[in-house]
């Protein structure tokens, strides 16, 4: 067992590479079942009357796109299916192209047949610097931070935002968050003081931080790829046109996650075996 104690960590890295890459390349799929916290978000969007105003903040950067983009896509698709009007924004400077990508690929791409119009059915507010200060400001005045949309059109000239004074005029807030500023700041400066319904999507690392806010300050949470996969399954059950592999990115990513988790368990066991073997006689201290 001496080899275990001196194991070069590059072997561990190689094992992890194989655990993630092989299921992805072989397109292995595992079934998923939506959990209550995901269903809370799904039902809220489902129950809102058609034409409700939903704000989606893309608070992440390309580094966490692999983990968060599938849930962002699923939420935008759900809003399109329900004909909700979307106000899209980001608190992260490198999140702006991600918003634009969601618009071009989903709203103007997959749902081109609906003829959704910028300004009437959705508005891209873009990015404003200031982090949590942006949330604090738009809580009282949307125009103080965003006098125009990302294309430079005054908000008063857009049918969707003409009647929106501040966050309180929106029916649901959604933050897809990878850190700061993100879910915690939306809870602290929007949902908590203004008593607004807030749903969040978060990375796996950030998700435990969201649980204490449920259910009063957060109505639900989509935790990482698993949360997104559950949402995609719920969406597929309600809208069969979305139950196809091309619209279920997160479900596809659950098999690599399964094998990576199993590898980590095996490594923990091996690490303990190595420690047990090398422990001096005389028992546990």
């Amino acid at each position: 067992m001496a080899w275990l104690q001196t194991l070069d960590r590059r072997w561990i890295f190689l094992a992890m590479l194989l655990a993630v890459a092989l299921p992805q390349l072989l397109q292995v799929r595992v079934p998923e079942k939506p959990t209550p916290l995901v269903l809370n978000v799904f039902r809220k969007i489902e129950e809102l009357p058609e034409g409700s105003r939903v704000l989606i903040s893309f608070d992440y950067s390309p580094s966490s796109e692999g983990e968060l983009a599938p849930m962002a896509a699923a939420l935008v698709r759900h809003c399109c299916e329900k004909r909700h009007r979307m106000v899209l924004m980001t608190l992260w400077p490198d999140g702006k192209p991600l918003v634009e990508r969601a618009i071009s690929r989903i709203i103007e791409g997959e749902y081109a047949a609906l003829g959704l119009q910028a300004g009437r059915d959705y508005v891209n507010l873009g990015y404003r610097p200031g982090k949590e200060v942006v949330i604090k400001t738009i809580a009282t005045s949307l125009r103080a931070e965003f006098p125009t949309d990302d294309a430079g059109t005054p908000l008063d000239d857009l049918p969707l935002t003409a009647e929106v004074t501040n966050l309180q005029d929106l029916d649901l807030l959604i933050s897809i968050s990878a850190g700061f500023p993100g879910l915690k700041e939306w809870v602290q400066y929007a949902s908590s003081p203004l008593k607004l319904p807030l749903a969040v999507g978060a990375t796996a690392v950030q998700a435990p931080q969201a649980y204490p806010y449920i259910p009063r300050q957060l109505l639900g949470i989509l935790a990482a790829v698993k949360g997104a996969a559950e949402y995609e399954v719920a969406l597929g059950e309600r809208y069969p046109n979305l139950a196809i592999p091309e619209r279920q990115d997160a479900v596809r990513r659950m098999a690599p996650q399964l094998w990576a988790h199993l590898l980590i368990i095996a490594l923990i066991v091996l690490g303990n075996v190595a420690a047990l073997v090398s422990r001096p006689r005389g028992g546990v201290r």
């Binding site: 960590r9 390309p62 580094s63 192209p97 200031g130 200060v133 399964l258 923990i268 091996l270």
Partner: protein, 231 residues
Amino acid sequence: MLRNTIPWLIAACAGSVIIAAYFVPSAQGWQDTIGQWFEVLASFAFVLGGVNLAMQNLQKISAREPGWGYAAVTLMSFLVTLGVGLFKVGVPADSSGSRWGGSYQAEGSAFWWLYEYAYNPTISTIFALLAFYVASAAFRAFRWKNTEATLLLATAFIVLLGRTYAGAVLTSAIPEEYSAFTFPGLTTLIMGVVNTAGQRAIMIGIALGVAATSLKVLLGINRSYLGSGDG
């Protein structure tokens, strides 16, 4: 006075106004103004950072310090990105036919190309390294050495399995009415009860720490960030 007292007075005034604005509706406009001032100042800080970055790297190159080639690459990347963004290289013309009217991030522009094909894959790669570090940390740090560590280990097993299909399969024999004892059920319990209780306790402690430290900054008890040398 200039180095210490005036910055402290600015911090104290801005902090007090923000606290007051939370309770006095008519002061909310002042809070917005302070927020906008912060944004303006933070924008100037980008210039400060850029100048420092350029100076540091130029110094390394001119002194031929070890690794000066990396400094040259950094400086070159910085200048190229800045240049293509400022001069809107490759930006498609807008409806009036002017290239200057389009956004520097417009699809097809050089800046967009750098974002899509250089920046995006690079930072995704570094983030992905986490998977490898998690594996090596699991092998090295998770040890069964005392009661607390054993509890941690057991919790890790349950949550790792409960967050995947393997957990559901391994405990599929458990009847539906006892689903709380399956791996996914136990994971929900751990995350919703045990984790939430711990998180809340830590968050209350942190919130009180933040309040006390903020108060120390407002009252001028803690001025170490101004270089006073005390606390």
